[in-house]
């Protein structure tokens, strides 16, 4: 019995063990299967989460690849995703008030006016070609055969490289420093006498660039040629052309020493042959203070003065900006051959007219002064403590006409031989776009005693509200 019992016990035990092993194998297999399923599920979840992150990244990139239209403080801008095509629509409005004090009868009237009303369209096509069209519908502007006054800028600029660009069309003649300053960035509402002598806008071709990171700036161009202070886009009186060149250095531009960084020095000049009408010169208050004799030239009593050939100008110029301080200075000489026709009498001479100015400005509110647009540190906001930027500006400047002009080429009773002006002004920049200005200007004249505009010193207050965006 003992043997079967022993066998039975052994069989039972082995059965139990086998069952246990089988059960354990089964559990192990199930566990392994479960682990694999869990691992696969974990991978799927991780993959889905990662895929979502990548999809978000791609969505952001895709959004960047869409054409973009924005409206902000720089105007309304449309650009293609690759920025090869852009167009910006913006503009300038300057509303002025001019108030004259202690003036002679017949001089200018106090007036409100829209000094500049300018829609501006600029941008780029095919990345390489920049364009700009600036129109003006300001008060008193008109057109003549030689100049469509409503079109201020109209040019294409081939932007080959910052160091070398070709610009064709109507643009500011690169000569006078203050003339090249944007109208919206002027320290005082009206430019000084050097800009009365320097040419304004002309049509031609110019090569320009700013190599060495902007430390050096140059322009070299051929233009139709203008009489002093004029603008033109069509040659009506001669085929002569003006060659204009300007270089400007900012040698310490990337130096650490702030007092050195803002030094800029340069010289501009033009040379050409001009015939035809010559322009009058105007004061800060925009009154005519000097005119060449302008009869019809057919009789000895109606002499007419015209440009008679060679005309050159040269202008050394400089600026200095250090912190809130800004100083700008220029000295221009314009030398022009003139012809006086009175019946059968023809006389010739050369006029050597000069102008200079020194202008200084200071921000009381701590802004960095600059030749370009200023960003107030604390733009004006109602009830939020921001009051904008406050700038004081002062200028002395002078215009000297060649003594040889009087009385044969200009009437000393109606035209001044010298004008000396000083101005003080205050600019309140509410923000980058809106500015309110007031400027008091006083000009002392020598000569022109019978001209109501120059019979007495000009004392004028010019106020301005400006919006530029």
């Amino acid at each position: 019995m003992s043997i079967p019992i022993r066998y039975s016990a052994g069989l039972f035990a082995s059965t139990i063990v086998s069952l246990a092993v089988l059960a354990a194998d089964d559990t192990e297999a199930q566990l392994r299967q479960l682990r694999e399923q869990l691992s696969a599920l974990d991978q799927k979840i991780r993959t889905l989460e990662r895929q979502r992150e990548v999809d978000q990244e791609i969505a952001v990139d895709k959004a960047k690849a869409q054409p973009l239209a924005t409206i902000d403080d720089k105007g309304f801008t449309i650009r293609s995703a690759d920025t090869n095509f852009t167009m910006r629509i913006h503009g300038v409005f300057q509303g002025d008030g001019r108030f004259y004090f202690d003036h002679a009868a017949g001089a200018a009237n106090d007036t409100f006016l829209a000094r500049r009303v300018r829609p501006i369209f600029d941008g780029t096509v095919y990345r390489l070609f920049d364009y700009r069209l600036m129109l003006d519908f300001g008060s008193g502007l008109n057109s003549a055969a030689a100049n469509v006054g409503f079109v201020q800028d109209a040019y294409v600029n081939m932007n080959i490289d910052p160091a070398f660009q070709i610009r064709v069309g109507k643009d500011k003649v690169p000569l006078s420093l203050e003339r090249l300053q944007s109208d919206v960035d002027l320290g005082l509402p009206e430019r000084g006498f050097p800009s009365v002598i320097a040419p304004n806008r002309d049509t031609g071709i110019q090569f320009r660039g700013e190599p060495w990171g902007g430390k050096f700036e140059y322009q070299l161009g051929v233009f139709n040629g203008l009489s002093d202070g004029g603008s033109g886009d069509f040659e009506t009186t001669d085929s002569g052309k003006d060659v204009v060149a300007r270089v400007f250095f900012q040698p310490f531009r990337d130096q650490r020493a702030k007092w050195l960084k803002g030094i800029g020095l340069g010289v501009g000049g033009s040379y050409g042959d001009q015939r035809g009408a010559v322009r009058s010169y105007v004061s800060t208050g925009q009154q005519t203070i000097f005119s060449y004799l302008n009869g019809n030239g057919s009789t000895p009593l109606t002499p007419q003065v015209t440009a008679g050939g060679e005309h050159w100008r040269v202008e050394p110029q400089a600026w200095y900006y250090w912190g809130s301080l800004g100083i700008l200075g220029e000295y221009i000489v314009s030398d022009q051959k003139l012809q006086r026709t009175a019946g059968t009498s023809v006389l010739q001479t050369r006029a050597d007219n000069r102008g200079w100015q020194i202008q200084g400005s200071w921000f009381f509110t701590g802004e960095e002064n600059t030749f370009r647009t200023v960003n107030p540190l604390r733009p004006f906001t109602l009830g939020d403590g921001g009051w904008g930027a406050l700038q004081a500006v002062a200028r002395i400047n002078q215009l000297t006409l060649d003594n040889q002009l009087f009385p044969v080429f200009a009437n000393p009773d109606t035209s001044v031989s010298k004008a000396s002006e000083w101005s003080v002004g205050i600019n309140w920049y509410l923000n980058r776009l809106v500015r309110v200005s007031a400027d008091y200007s006083q000009t002392h004249y020598e000569g022109g005693a019978k001209n109501p505009a120059t019979a007495k010193d000009e004392k004028v207050l010019i106020s301005r509200v400006q919006l530029s965006f």
Partner: protein
Amino acid sequence: MKTVSSDIRRIFRASLILLVLCGVSLSAKTIEILNVSYDPTREFYVQFNEAFSTYWKEKTGDDVVVKQSHGGSGKQARAILDGLQADVATLGLGYDINVLVEKGRLLPEDWQQRLPNNSSPYTSAIVLLVRKGNPKGIHEFEDLARPGVSVITPNPKTSGGARWNFLAAWGYALKKWNGDKAKARAFVAAIYKNTPVLDTGARGATTTFVERGIGDVFISWENEALLVLNGKDKAEFSLVVPSTTILAEPPVAWLDRNVRRHGTEAVSRGYLEFLYTEKGQEIAARNYYRPRNAKIAGQFSSQFAPTQLFTVQEVFGAWNDIQKTYFAEGGIFDEIQRDNR
């Protein structure tokens, strides 16, 4: 009439003196340049920039600050075209610099001839990073096409590294099947069928594999794989170097148009030339790039596993043709992705 010649002479004399003074003052300064690079070069250029700043200061007296920007190579090229003011581009592959020539005219067509080794100062190889113990038994590119193997590689449409990966696998297949393009296509398609997620850049793909724990194998730049294997997670991964793989030759170039605008031509050129010096090559090698300089390569030879390397020119030809055939809109990669859906 007044005589003006003496006045004019005075004005010109004064102007001349001012201009001379200006010229004299172009002296010691701080210069800043921007290096726009691809994803895995971050650590390398941090060290290299430091060494270059020291070198340039000693050479010229000027302080130079090098800023870095990193991302997928193709994305970086587009960013430059969109206006990112890079002085130098150190991208993942030659095509991305060709784009800057063709679409941006930022540098001349012969840019590759301006520096030695076709303007590729360091190289890398395409290798495989697997999980600890290589549980899926991966030893060659061939193993990536097996069902059940999850492969991590970025998107060749946006990543230069991914294009090298694609070409490495394709080149491997051509060599294995004696140039049979149909087999190579089917092989590469099978690999991309095993790819659960396509990151936009190589560094993103590293994140997917290493940090997120996704996938069984990561097709990687050798330098990126070695960086992982020498980092904090080194115990978690193993390196597999296929018997045949591609020699990746990332190029460098200064962008003429931008450096002229910034006045940084000399320093940008000096920066890239410094990559070829022994010091520059040593820093590259320490960051697991294969140096071109034989002496430095000898010093670091134990770092790189031996393998048979083929170049992109040997097997595929010019980058522009490669781009058109494989990666452009409607190219082979797009077809593969469409078929795999």
